[in-house]
């Protein structure tokens, strides 16, 4: 049985990263890339909607997708700490996208084989988008990592911060442990590293050896960054309850 908590976890990851990426809208390094990152935002927000709608259906009509996105407080969000970190620079944004998309691809390939047809269908639909996000972001990681002195330095700085947040993906929460097919979450970490390493090697980046393991997001223990993000993202919905377009 699919739990609402697990659906919210999947949805929150997509929504919060989608919102973070959307902060580039109008600020991208060049028009074409501004559009690219905004497209990715919209893909992620679309994935979030699918999961929220399914969660709303499971709630038996008590909640709507908007309730989940706009009327919950930070401690009720179950997203990874990784996705709520500020967008920082282009190196940080593209590296985070790469590491997250690779995680999503491995996870969603498993979700596709679930007995739960709804979750399998959402995962299947998202995989095409994810394949593109992965291609786009891995090229930027390589381009900047193996680029100029400055771009390499910025990628190095980014990986040192971001790596602290990657362990959390593979440390299962209670609602993940309950979800069938995710028992072997450690296997996913091996798969993920196998995919991530060649790209980082091509980008002349090395995996930090002295990283920390930052966790808590899955259980609702977030950094203040998420509160600030929600304050902005939810401001209209909270100021005008029930407003329609």
């Amino acid at each position: 049985m699919t739990s609402i908590s697990y659906l919210l976890h999947l949805a929150d990851n997509a929504l919060i990263l989608g919102h973070r990426n959307s902060e580039w809208c109008g600020h991208g390094p060049i028009l074409e890339q501004d559009i690219a990152i905004t497209n990715i935002s919209l893909d992620l927000i679309g994935q979030a909607r699918n999961f929220y709608q399914y969660a709303a259906a499971l709630s038996g009509g008590e909640k709507t997708e908007d309730d989940y996105a706009y009327l919950r407080d930070a401690h009720e969000f179950k997203n990874l700490l990784l996705v709520e970190q500020p967008k920082a620079d282009w190196a940080y944004t593209t590296l985070r996208q790469f590491l997250f998309s690779q995680y999503q691809q491995i996870l969603f390939n498993r979700l596709c084989q679930q007995d739960d047809q709804q979750i399998a269908a959402i995962a299947n639909k998202s995989l095409k988008e994810i394949a593109y996000h992965l291609r786009w972001s891995s090229e930027w990681v390589i381009r900047l990592g193996d680029g100029t002195e400055e771009s390499h330095r910025r990628m190095e700085d980014a990986i040192h911060v971001i790596w602290n947040y990657t362990d959390e993906m593979f440390i299962p929460s209670d609602y993940e442990k309950e979800f069938p097919g995710l028992e072997a979450i450690n296997e996913m970490k091996v798969q993920w590293l196998d995919k991530v390493k060649p790209v980082l090697a091509e980008a002349t980046l090395s995996i930090p050896t002295s990283s920390k393991t930052m966790t808590g997001g899955k259980e609702g223990k977030h950094s203040s960054h998420l509160e600030e993000l929600l304050k902005e993202m939810q401001s209209v919905a909270r100021a005008h309850p029930g407003a329609q377009w």
Binding site: P29, I30, L31, E32, Q33, I35, A36, N39, Y132, R135, W136, E139, R143
Partner: protein, 121 residues
């Protein structure tokens, strides 16, 4: 590095007067070359010019084109050509180029009587 070959076919705009061929690497990262984008909207149709964009290399040009020009299911195939490789006829020479065709209507196949059985051609 691209080596600029000065090849001028009749009607081309000489590089010093028009179509720019940059010989050196762009100095700024944002000073990426311009690419012309062609999209095929359906299998079996021709690629059509849809516009231009900036990109650092061919691969990025195709990806940018995907994001800029195919967001609404416009295409099944993308071509990208760096703009400097497009040679254009010279607008100043449009009279000798195109006007002579004006009074040669016999070049149009409109003088043949088609039997009705042929139907619409």
């Amino acid at each position: 590095m691209n080596i600029a070959i000065r090849k001028l076919y009749y009607g081309d705009i000489p590089e010093d007067r028009g179509g720019p061929a940059r010989e050196s690497r762009p100095e700024k990262a944002t000073d990426w070359p311009l690419w012309e984008i062609f999209i095929r909207s359906k299998q079996g149709l021709d690629h059509k010019h849809v516009g231009s964009l900036h990109a650092a290399d061919a691969q990025m040009a195709i990806e940018n084109a995907r994001d800029v020009y195919t967001r609404r299911m416009e295409g099944v195939s993308i071509w990208a050509v760096e703009s400097k490789y497009i040679h254009a006829s010279n607008p100043e020479e449009s009279a000798p180029f195109f006007d002579p065709a004006l009074d040669k209507i016999y070049r149009h196949p409109t003088f043949y009587d088609l039997p009705d059985e042929v139907g619409h051609m």
